[in-house]
């Protein structure tokens, strides 16, 4: 690997940047077929059965962010397999399929249907979903449940690269992180959205149809940086260390580099795409902007490859506390 080339588990990417789940869709590639700067894409979470999603309004802009409650609207695994995979396979980058569910069985069934497909390079488990069998607590917030879930999915997918996307709505993210690793995850990706709410002072009602939603965007970046750092220092380092995909509020090269220095091997970009989607013609997309910044940074400092910087901020903790 040289420069920005990145290898994570068995995925090879030409930049460490990913287009995250729920934002990227095949329509974006019609605006710009080559997807400059994008190392890999993650599909919108698919569920066993089709879901029509939450009542509108589904989004509200917040200061330096976005609150969303889409509700995982998707056509279901069958149509995903028959319609969306062929559409996505024209992309020249690794494709990661995101899976969601409301019961363990749903995750297992979907994952087992996706694992044999060669077009899919890895499976990402979206565990920010409410566990219906346990009163609606997110799968990702209960380490015991999470470990069991990951272990069952691992059995179903064999040696396929398995990524677990952690929810930040927990007291200490190191616990679910370790649980996912124990269950057999190859890669951790964090963070998903933070739970939030906006109330309309004129109507005195929540602004979102589903009342609350997930916060993303520039405002959550420091939370993402901390949580990547926490996971890296607890289960990302050393021989048994599991690589991390850092996601959360990245809109500039600096933001991406911070996550890398905190311990992320790859960086995901989502909300920033709404403002700066792919285009190579008239102006740079957020991916191009970030890619150029990282390239310039390592060249100027004579750093051979970006992976040399992973977790650098965690190296010198001479003061002895985490």
């Amino acid at each position: 690997m040289v420069g920005l080339e990145t290898k994570i588990s068995d995925l090879r990417m030409h930049t460490p940047l990913l287009a995250v789940s729920g934002i990227f869709g095949i329509e974006y590639s019609k605006l710009s077929p080559k997807l400059p700067g994008v190392g890999a894409v993650v599909t919108k979470s698919v569920t066993l059965h089709p879901r029509s999603g939450n009542p509108e309004p589904r989004i509200i802009e917040t200061p330096a962010g976005l609150l969303n409650s889409i509700g995982l609207q998707n056509p279901g695994i069958q149509r995903f397999l028959s319609e969306q995979i062929p559409e996505l396979s024209v992309l020249e980058v690794p494709i990661i399929a995101s899976v969601a569910g409301s019961s363990m069985e749903e995750y297992v069934v979907c994952s087992s249907l996706l694992a044999p497909r060669d077009e899919i390079d890895a499976i990402e488990l979206n565990v920010s979903c409410p566990n219906v069998e346990k009163g609606g607590i997110e799968f990702g917030s209960d380490p015991g449940v999470l470990r069991h879930l990951v272990a069952e999915v691992r059995k179903a997918v064999g040696s396929k690269t398995l990524i677990v996307k952690l929810t930040p709505n927990v007291t200490d993210i190191a616990l679910p992180a370790q649980a996912a690793v124990d269950g057999g995850a190859n890669v951790l990706s964090l963070i998903n959205t933070l739970r939030g709410m906006v109330i309309d002072v004129d109507t005195c009602r929540p602004k979102l149809g589903n009342r609350f939603g997930g916060l993303s965007g520039q405002g959550i970046h420091p939370v993402a940086v901390y949580m990547v750092y926490r996971c890296y220092t607890s289960c990302g380092q050393g021989e048994k260390g599991v690589p991390i995909i850092g996601i959360g509020g990245v809109s500039s090269g600096e933001d991406a580099l911070e996550l890398i220095l905190a311990g992320a091997t790859c960086v995901g970009i989502g909300t920033a795409m709404f403002r700066d989607p792919y285009d190579a013609k008239s102006k740079k997309s957020v991916f191009q902007r970030v890619e150029e910044y990282l390239r310039t940074y390592i060249e100027k400092r004579g750093i051979h490859r970006i992976s040399d910087l992973v977790g650098k901020a965690a190296e010198v903790s001479s003061l002895g506390f985490e």
Partner: protein, 441 residues
Amino acid sequence: MKAVEVKEHRIKRYDELLTLLGKELGFECIWPNREANEVVWEATSGATCSFKITEKHIVVRASRPLHGQEMASEVGTIVHHEFEKALWTWCKRNPERGDQLQKALYEPAQDFPEPEPPQHLLWRVLENREWGPEYYVLTFGVGGRSRIDPQPGQFMHVVCDPDGKDTLTDDGRRRGYALTLRRPFSVHRVHYAGFDRRLLATPKMLPFEISHIIRRPLSKMDILYKLVGEGTRSLSRVQPGRLLDVIGPLGNGFNIERERTAIIVAGGIGVAPLVALAERLRYLGTEVYMYLGAVTQEHLQPILRDAAVQRGFIHGTEFCERIMREFEEIGIDVVKVCTDDGTVGEKGLVTDILEGDIEAGSIPSHSVTMYACGPLAMMKRVSDVARKHAIPCQVLLEERMACGVGTCFSCTCRIRGKDGKVEKKRVCKDGPGFNSEDIVW
């Protein structure tokens, strides 16, 4: 009259129309005389028919031999825009053939290029002015080589804070915070290079020249917006000369049928996309009835963009007359202005006045399509009126958007599919134009 210079392919088109026409009536073309703009046809019966194209009409002279010797002739004239609609009287005397002719002439619209795929563009702001209370009109200058042809009902997805963009500079350092989302604005008016919209009134030129003009590049585009939040407020502060980052044109606009008549109903800021629609319908020679509703006179001011109007020097009846003249200019003779408070035009809700006119028979309710845009309750009301009188009706929906291209599923609405099942459709991609009957209100 002097010979009119026309492009080869347009002459060919006109000839094709005449050939079809002639054949249907049993004539064969024997002598096209382009310089005199006349074509002569002959039938096996010996009858002849000549079409002479003048500035205003097509003069049709048909003669048939009578008793072997005498020639009885009929002269008819057809106004150009009627010819395009195949409503000319001579055809009607042979109703069967007349109908066939109408079918032959009514091919799917070849005049308009297929919409270009949406593009990511940088457009210059030429003007950005307030014309009503917190109502602004922003004019974009479109690059000379643009091949975009925005359809009525489509929208542009705009970054409203260009300075916010500067905080996310190209060198990758982060300096501040920008608005997370773009804002969608429907296309209000389009301007084509060198085309005077008053030509839409009655074609003073030959029909094939008008469709030739439509192929000219887009030179300017207007959006009409109201200050409702952070994004629009930011946009109102953009000075002329700045470049704005836009994506578009996006969405499925109105599905324009080649009906002879259209009724357009506007509610407040909903008038924005309907002006583009009215102009496009006039290109097609449709007869348009326009209903403009607003809470009060001020909300209609941006349509006129007149400083005297804005400052209140022109109001009431005079204002009403100005609006009517604005639309008469493009050939719309019936413009009903209604305000809730009666400051201009008729007092009352536009939907009530519309319903009253339909029931009184003062506007047609057959072979008519209705188009509406405005507050949700108003569009629902229009849809009720349309359903009651079996008039097909289309409305333009709006919903908070993030990606604007169909990937994120933020902007969904409930639409009844053909099988009767209710589905969540995306306003940005499956709409914004929808048949009012399919919407689950």
